[in-house]
């Protein structure tokens, strides 16, 4: 659908994305926790990432698909990350979009209490962000909740929260099969 657009996009962003892709393909991720790459080589600005649920968390055993959408001025601006299908997690909007400070620019603060030291900067990368998201799966940040129901459940009934998460994983795995 976007074929032929590759030449029009900013070459800095493209080069940087190719470098990151190359590094991820040759080195892999730490402990093989995720893989990521462009959906199609016609368009380096749409990626997909497959993320393993971290061990010793209710997400263990799950494999999650996320879409990464890069702006043309990447890495000056951060990319967007969206789980598809959405995950049941306090920091993930019901539509699957991830709410994490490392993907917000210092100027853009939807909740007004994120430290600017945790924000996006051009030296961040796909690898660093995905690793942050993995650690966010293990330890939700209740101060900047994106899914209020989930936050509430997490705080008030941890057992039920964990059950819901495991149930979601089972459902997703069935879909994948």
């Amino acid at each position: 659908m976007l074929g032929g657009s590759k030449k029009t996009q900013s070459s800095t962003a493209l080069r940087r994305l190719m470098t990151e892709y190359k590094q991820l393909t040759t080195n892999g991720s730490p402990d093989g926790m995720f893989t990521a790459g462009p959906v199609s080589e016609d368009n380096f600005f749409e990626w997909e990432a497959l993320i393993q649920g971290p061990e010793d968390t209710p997400f263990e055993g799950g494999v999650f698909l996320a879409r990464l959408t890069f702006p043309t001025d990447y890495p000056l601006s951060p990319f967007k990350m969206k789980f598809d299908p959405p995950l049941f997690h306090p920091n993930i909007y019901p539509n699957g979009e991830v709410c994490i400070s490392i993907l917000h620019t210092p100027g853009d603060d939807p909740h007004m209490y994120e430290l600017s030291s945790e924000r996006w900067s051009p030296v961040q990368s796909v690898e660093k962000v995905v690793l942050s998201v993995i650690s966010m799966l293990a330890e939700p940040n209740l101060e900047s909740g994106a899914n209020i129901d989930c936050c509430k459940l997490y705080r008030e009934n941890r057992e039920e929260y964990e059950r819901r998460v495991r149930q979601m994983i089972e459902e997703q795995l069935e879909v994948l099969e």
Binding site: M18, K22, T25, P38, D84, N95, G96
Partner: protein, 390 residues
């Protein structure tokens, strides 16, 4: 996925990165990594130093980053900074230039050594454990550089020297001459005659010499670097001054056009385009000054025109994408949802006509508004097909 093909297709087949080096050469990966700009991940191009914290970036990268952000801070450590703290990093530039010259050679040597080591390990793990004097098996290696001479391998890996290399020269304990190991016994028996040790010739030697800046490398990297240094010293005219930033909002249209005319830039487009064009010009012009091999001003103008063309196309594409999502995906996919909301609203209006207005601040409408917030993307999600890359 064939990365090489993809890179070639996009015209950027020269993308390099530390993982080009074999895994066993972690030290070279580290070296490669330290000579890269943390923003673009390429080898430094006209590197500059931020005086406020000491971090280095490509001049253009950090200038763009400072232009973009609302807060001016170092992209690496977030210490507040400003454009005036940008200083040329001359030593780093020289190091990177020298490294760029040497990189392909180092890479070829490292790859070659790694593949030989692998082959040696394979053979020692096999049944044949007796140390053989030399060359277990050697097919023509697929490397860019044919090293031609075994001596290279010997000098860089002492372990191998002992096990496999009997041809390597050793010092005669009596006369201190260099004698091939295979000859040493005969040499001592014959009472230390003059030995002619075969000269280290071949490309391999020359390649190391280039790297070490030794006699073989005089015409290589080092010479080139010296040359450029002299050129710099010779230039007597004062260096061009960086252009000052402009706060456009205080200027009239005529004044902004004047700024463009001063720089011989096009005056096409509207006021917004003029300002963007001029601001970008200042950024690339100043970044160019930080390079020891600056581009010509004409070249910069052509680059600027190209930048503007790409930007215009990007924006057009973005608009097209937004309107596509709005018109088709969003409305259609939300039809059902809207119908449900309307039905809900009607039901509650019928049930309790007096509380409709108050209802705006109570439970249900909040749910609705948060729903709507997340919706614009779900049209996309519906279209997205599950497709697993890699």
């Amino acid at each position: 996925m064939d990365l090489a093909l993809a890179l070639a297709a996009t015209g950027a087949d020269d993308v390099s990165d530390p993982s080009d080096f074999p895994e066993s050469f972690g030290i070279l990966r580290t070296l490669d990594r330290t000579l890269r700009c943390p923003i673009c991940k390429d080898l430094f191009n006209a590197p500059v130093l931020l005086g406020t914290c000491g971090h280095s970036f490509c001049s253009l990268c950090i200038r763009e980053a400072l232009k973009e952000g609302e807060k001016k801070e170092c992209s690496a450590c977030r210490v507040p900074t400003q454009e005036s703290s940008i200083k040329k990093n001359i030593v780093l530039e020289e190091s990177v230039e020298a490294y760029k010259t040497a990189r392909s050679t180092v890479l070829a040597l490292a790859n070659d050594t790694a593949s030989r080591k692998r082959r040696r390990e394979d053979s020692t793990n096999g049944a044949d454990l007796t140390p053989r004097p030399k060359r277990v098996k050697r097919e023509s290696s697929g490397q860019d550089v044919d090293l031609g001479d075994e001596r290279l391998e010997e000098s860089e890996d002492s372990e191998v020297e002992i096990i496999e290399n009997s041809k390597a020269p050793v010092d005669c304990p009596i006369c201190d001459q260099k004698v091939p190991a295979t000859r040493i016994n005969a040499h001592l028996d014959e009472g230390c005659p003059h030995e002619s040790v075969p000269e280290d010739k071949g490309k391999g030697k020359a390649q190391w010499a280039i790297l070490l800046g030794g006699p073989g490398g005089k015409k290589g990297a080092k010479g080139g670097r010296r040359g450029s240094g002299r050129e710099r010293d010779r230039s007597s005219s004062p260096p061009p001054r960086p252009l000052a930033k402009v706060s456009y909002h205080t200027l009239s249209n005529k004044q902004v056009r004047g700024l463009l005319q001063d720089q011989c830039l096009s005056e096409s487009g509207d006021r917004k385009q003029w300002e963007q064009r001029h601001a970008q010009w200042i950024t690339v012009y100043n970044a160019n000054l930080d390079s020891s091999k600056p581009k010509s001003v004409d070249q910069l103008r052509r680059d600027l025109e190209r930048w503007e063309r790409l930007k215009a196309r990007d924006e057009k594409e973005k608009e097209a994408r937004v309107s596509r999502v709005d018109a088709k995906g969003y409305e259609k996919s939300q039809d059902e949802h809207f119908a449900k909301l309307i039905a809900q609203a009607r039901a509650s209006a019928k049930g309790n006509p007096n509380t409709i207005r108050q209802g705006a601040s109570s439970e249900k409408p909040i749910e609705i508004s948060s729903d709507l917030e997340m919706e614009p993307e779900s049209g996309e999600a519906a279209q997205a097909t599950v497709h697993i890359a890699l």
